[in-house]
């Protein structure tokens, strides 16, 4: 199995690249006009969850859980047929 150093050698540059992509994405949102929708606070909340995952939860799981719908009852109808990537507690425009 690879060591921590091996994992850094394999993935550090890629992760660094993606971290800068996230930072520049957030800067881009800040810089442009208009209002961000529910995905923006959801994204920021997921970032915070990644940095401080609950005990027994990995960082990746914490991000998934932060962005997931936690309701338990089947929906009455589909509404939109696609997924946004973050759970929307209220329909857009409501």
């Amino acid at each position: 199995m690879p060591t921590k150093k091996d994992i850094q050698d394999l993935y550090f540059m890629d992760a660094r690249f993606k971290l800068l992509e996230i930072a520049s994405f957030l800067d881009r949102i800040d810089r442009h006009d208009g209002e961000a929708d529910f995905r923006h606070p959801a994204f920021l909340k997921a970032l915070a969850a990644m940095q401080s995952p609950p005990a027994g939860t990995s960082r990746t799981q914490a991000v998934h859980l932060s962005l997931s719908d936690h309701s338990t009852e089947p929906a009455h109808s589909a509404g939109v047929s696609f997924a946004y990537g973050a759970h929307q507690t209220q329909p857009l425009g409501a």
Binding site: T60, P74, G79
Partner: protein
């Protein structure tokens, strides 16, 4: 390096993709029935689709030495209208005995609606009636956790052999729900969603190499028919030997699929 592609939607891919996966060692490929990128206007559209899955694609794959198998169902994305869905489901018995049919799939949920769940459960009954294995689609992104839980709850009541059911598209927050309940799990390798090769290997390292496969699920969207073999190469980078890589990309899918009477290599 030989491998089995256990989930690919070749009706949406070019013949050059068959050539490419054959060149890197694909010996067999399994194609679940799914959404084709558009809603079909009539049940007749599914009749033609089932013919494509059972007749045309096996012949196209055979030109490159690949054995092509398929699963039949109405997918959850087109199952919101139960009347339409039942009309499509009534076609399944006409095709279920075709020599390359593996079972019922990929059934499941898309937006976790009552009607999707109703049709999912009716298709479980079809699988039970015809003694078929089952391949299950879990929803995308924010809907996956809830959908996986609803599917597992529904399966609890269905009294089916859990070893003949694979629940696909698991990720870090759903994989243990599936494996701990005694089902097989599938990981899908997508460039923009689901699992990357690195994350798929993380899941293998965390949850073990048993009762799990990985697939490209290549289709009409952004996807990569070579994703399985690229993940095998990623495993090599992490110092995995040929034996364990072959287990994940060949022997695991072979073990599950051998439960389907029509599967043979």
């Amino acid at each position: 390096m030989r491998y089995i592609e256990p989930h690919a939607h070749m009706v949406s891919r070019t013949t050059a993709d068959y050539q490419a996966i054959a060149q890197v060692g694909c010996e067999a490929l399994c194609e679940p029935a799914f959404w084709a990128g558009y809603d079909r206007a009539s049940a007749q559209g599914f009749y033609d689709y089932y013919r494509q899955l059972t007749e045309y694609e096996p012949a196209r794959a055979a030109k490159f030495g690949i054995k092509h198998f398929c699963w039949l169902c109405i997918n959850p994305k087109e199952a919101e209208d139960p009347v339409f869905a039942r009309e499509v489901m009534s076609l399944i018995p006409d095709f279920i005995n075709q020599p390359t049919v593996l079972g019922i799939g990929e059934i499941g949920l898309n937006k976790n609606t009552r009607n999707e769940l109703l049709i999912f459960e009716e298709q479980l009954e079809i699988a039970k009636k015809y003694d078929q294995a089952i391949l299950i689609h879990t929803p995308h992104l924010e809907d996956k956790l809830k959908g996986t839980r609803l599917i597992l709850d529904s399966l609890k009541n269905a009294q089916l052999d859990r070893e003949r059911i694979i629940i696909d598209h698991v990720e870090e927050h759903t994989v243990s729900l599936v494996l701990d309940a005694g089902y097989w799990a599938g990981m899908t390798l997508y460039p923009e969603s689901k699992c990357s090769p690195a994350r798929a290997i993380d899941i293998l390292e965390t949850y073990g190499m048993e009762n799990i496969w990985m697939n490209s699920a290549c289709d009409w969207g952004i996807s990569d028919p070579l994703a399985v073999i690229k993940t095998a190469l990623e495993m090599k980078k992490r110092h995995y030997g040929d034996e364990i890589i072959e287990k994940v990309i060949y022997r695991n899918p072979e073990k599950f699929l051998n439960q389907c009477p029509n599967f043979n290599l």
